[in-house]
Amino acid sequence: MEAGRSPNIEIITLAELKELSGKPGNFRAKLHIRPRYVDPLKCTSCGMCTTYCPKEVVDEYNERLTFTKAARIDYAQAVPTIYYLDEKECLRLQHESCQLCANVCGPNAIVFDQQPEERELEVGAVVLALGFGRVPEEVLEKYGYGKYPDVLTSLELERLTCASGPTEGEVIRPSDFTHPRRIAFLQCVGSRDVTCGNGYCSSVCCMYAMKEASVVKEHLPEAEIDLFFMDIRTQGKGFDEAFNRAVEKYGFRTIYARVPRVDQVGRRLALTYVTEDGKTHRDFYDMVVLSVGLDAPQDAEVLAERLGIELNHYGFAKTKVSTPLETNVPGVFVAGAFQGPKDIPESVVQAQAVAARCSELLAEVRGQDAIHKEFPPEDEELERLEPRIGVFVCHCGVNIAGVVNVKEVARYASTLPGVVYTEDVLYSCSQDTLNELVKKIKENRLNRVVIAACSPRTHEPLFQETLREAGLNPALIEMANIRDQCAWVHAEDPEAATQKAKDQVRMAVAKAARLMPLELQRVSVTPSALVIGGGAAGLQAALSIANQGFEVYLVEKEEELGGNLRRVTGLLSGERPQKILEDLIKQVESHPKVKIYKGTTVENISGYVGNFTSTLRREEGSEVINHGVVILATGGKEHRPVLFGLGENERVLTQLDLEGELEKKGGRLSRAKSIVMIQCVGSRGEDLKYCSKLCCQQAVKNALRIKKKYPKKDIYILFRDMRTYGFSEDAYREARKAGIIFIRYQVDRKPELVKRGKSLGVKIYDALLGEELFIPADLLVLSVGITPGENEEISKVIKAPLTGDGFFLEAHVKLMPVELPVEGVYVCGLAHGPKPLEETLAQARAAAAKAAIPLAKGYVEVAPIVSRVDQSKCIGCGICAALCPYGAIEMVKVGKRKKAQTITASCKGCGICASHCPVLAISMGGFTDEAILAQIEAFGAFVEREAEEKTEKEEAA
């Protein structure tokens, strides 16, 4: 988690918002901060307090499955990595009786008399990202939770499967610690259940149940796992495929049933359930896992009242489809699960989108309050001298010194070649030591520094900054990890640990001697964006970037803006889609920073992040533009399969066609008596392998609209799984109440079209009745799904990969949902995958946020770990360019020959190019061949020394 390192993010923990006043741009927020009882400036996260704390408490982080101490950190990687005292449990704070932690704390960081603090902040905008709450235990008790020990929640199982969890990853029954042989997952616990007040679908449980079941199966290959569903709702991008693969690989049994009853019978759990054919079953299991839904956050109500925020009837923040991030209070925004249950990628999308939204509001004061650190100029002359290495060996209190003989290591370091200064220090990372470090570097004219302490992953940035403060290039430091990978893991063998520490120090010194200063590369950025596609996604993205203050070129291949949204005539929320579209177009067209190109295609895109050049082709001729970033909002197309007579029979329509009919007076719709809708036509395994995510909502919406206009018409919806996730579950329930008939069909018994003379009908097998039904269809409406647009051509132009289904593949499925592997290129809307309007609009803003980052900075900074090609050695074979996973090497003409050249801005420093270069012409910043070979050679000295010792011994004998 990098949040802990940014100078522009101040983390305030144990705090609560008490009051908010003011208006957008100028809010005053009052915080109440509870005491931590540990001084964050002094705590070195050594963990001594936890070791000695005598008070055991139940570990909430591990879902109450184990114990921890009153003085603790919740988990090892927590940010901030500062321990705290649990006020309610600490013996000292409660009874004034103990002070062991204070006695053992090396840096004296424990402060028992810390007081709560009130703090007032001035801010321009507020983001509510409260997450989600827990379903109350009473709800879980219905399924035997709390009563039968082997009924677990999904989160408890998550901790059990975790390698660093209470059982170290072993899945056992809490009742008798045996491995369960048969496990059942019950879906929709605390979701889709009006009796517990949660009528909505939590959207994430089907997928996580499958993930957990798979992990369990990896731990216990013998286990038999059954999953009980009402519907399988794996509507996300690539989810269906993953789900089916898991079912096939692990042999899960999926059972359609309402949530079963759970009873304990002997040592096992009996599930009683009714399947869709109306039959009652009873089966025995060793463990039952409740797939618990996401509740509204517990503190939402109090906070909503304090801020005047409206919540919906389930206690989540109330928003609109057109403005999914806006609360009713201007300047107060919402994102993540608090806006409605959602999974990680969608939470990330909203997080990024809300950043864009704030940035739109505060564009004029961007950078005003941001902190920039200044450093003295580098002493290049000193850097050019022969290596003058300083070695600092850290005690880390007793963490290292308790095992490793630190003095001995320091003494040994002073004998190594190139070392001119050595010192052992108590805590190398404490602020006063860092100041000392700067002084020592200057006094001794050191030009390379080795710190033997903890892991470079945690503190290298800190020491690099210290080097910069001392006027040295930050690349001139090397760390030897003698804590995390030495003292801590070889505590029982101090001698060997000391030896290892010496060896690692020697290797680090060898590498340090070969470190070269590396220039922090900065590439300047053309402050404008190219947005390809003028549908809802493109319009919203363009508008957001323009509102953030940057030029936008918006290119639409058709003569009119609006894309697919033009054909949508209603929304479940009651908002009017054409009004939303009109507003968007109006704002974009009137925005001085947006230049619109209609009837235009993008022919060629070259360059890299910050500096792209593209050719826009219109009938009248082409134009070349320069821009810093690209947003792909190329949309998707309605799939029109040749199934059920679509395109041949005028009584067969798609849902989008129906949206048009709904706006007409009279017409086919008014004459039809019986209307049949079929879901997943051509989707989920036929022409399209995937689920298009929005068709179920669309069908329910259109059915309800028909019912409202013509209450007497019969409407049937034939479906595989109704995927009305989130709050659209309400509409599904309403539709059932309104008399719309829902019939599930099975994949191997799909509905069939029947023509009887002039009339149409559908034959379908009904599981409950156990027989085939004939339903007359005066109008047959097909939910046909969405196919990718012209992604393939663009993917070739821009060298961005597509998924097997033809949508753009994001850089990271979970954490980078709008970025592509190619830097400076972002994706949103249907080009990324099928999704409803609300999600498209949020994603468009997310892409706008990511795209605006390089524009706002004005430069792209590249960590100096990138590759560099020695063009005098390069033979132009092109192997490196072909192998680079990031497209960061290009072949350029130098004189008459082709040579490889690194696109520094795109390089991630993986080094595949260097390890595969035939002529060793590529070097990696900070990890050169010379440096690594020097480390290997230094390692060799350890071997030689042992050999010598051996000979000496033998000689002595």
Binding site: I879, P918, L920
Partner: protein
């Protein structure tokens, strides 16, 4: 990378158990510990480098020297790089796919280059008989003779009775 390296080690005569590639994500500390512990145990069983292989220190050094030369040579590196490029292009990362391609495209080259380096190194130390060469490299007559002939054609070595020796520069 792994497959090619393994084949070289195999040809050098080093047991493949001495070289392992494994994966552990940042959250998998216990798995990491298991990997390191198991590997250490396995190496302990094998004993010092050369012991389980039944290789003399000198022979081992000779062969590793040749392997070092091989892996820095552009001829090998180009073939290695091209193979990686080909694998990426066809997208075949199955163990069988990789292994068969390495066998086909890389192993003959590795064999030839290794042997050539070893022979050259041996010769550079002074006159040596064919029998001694065969014994030290572990190669067959058919493998060695063409190398010697080609070296002699280039005027680098010459035959003197039973022994080959480096040709003095004129």
């Amino acid at each position: 990378m792994a497959e090619a390296t393994k084949r070289i080690l195999e040809l050098v005569g080093i047991k493949l158990e001495r070289f392992r590639i494994d994966w552990a994500s940042a959250a998998e500390a216990p798995l990491f510990v298991k990997i390191v512990t198991d590997f250490t145990e396995a190496i302990k069983k094998l004993g010092p480098l050369g012991e389980a292989e039944g290789l003399e220190r000198e022979t081992l050094r000779l062969r590793l020297e040749a392997a070092r030369e091989l892996t820095s040579k552009s001829r090998f590196r180009a073939a290695f790089g091209n193979l990686a490029r080909e694998l990426k292009k066809v997208g075949d990362y199955s163990p069988e796919g990789i292994s068969s391609r390495v066998e086909q495209k890389l192993v003959p080259l590795i064999k030839k280059e290794l042997l050539e380096s070893e022979v050259k190194n041996l010769l550079s130390q002074g006159p040596v008989s064919i029998e001694a060469l065969l014994q030290k490299t572990g190669a067959t007559q058919d493998d060695i003779v063409p190398i010697l002939e080609s070296l002699s054609k280039k005027g680098k070595v010459e035959k003197q009775g039973d022994v080959w020796q480096p040709k003095a520069k004129e």
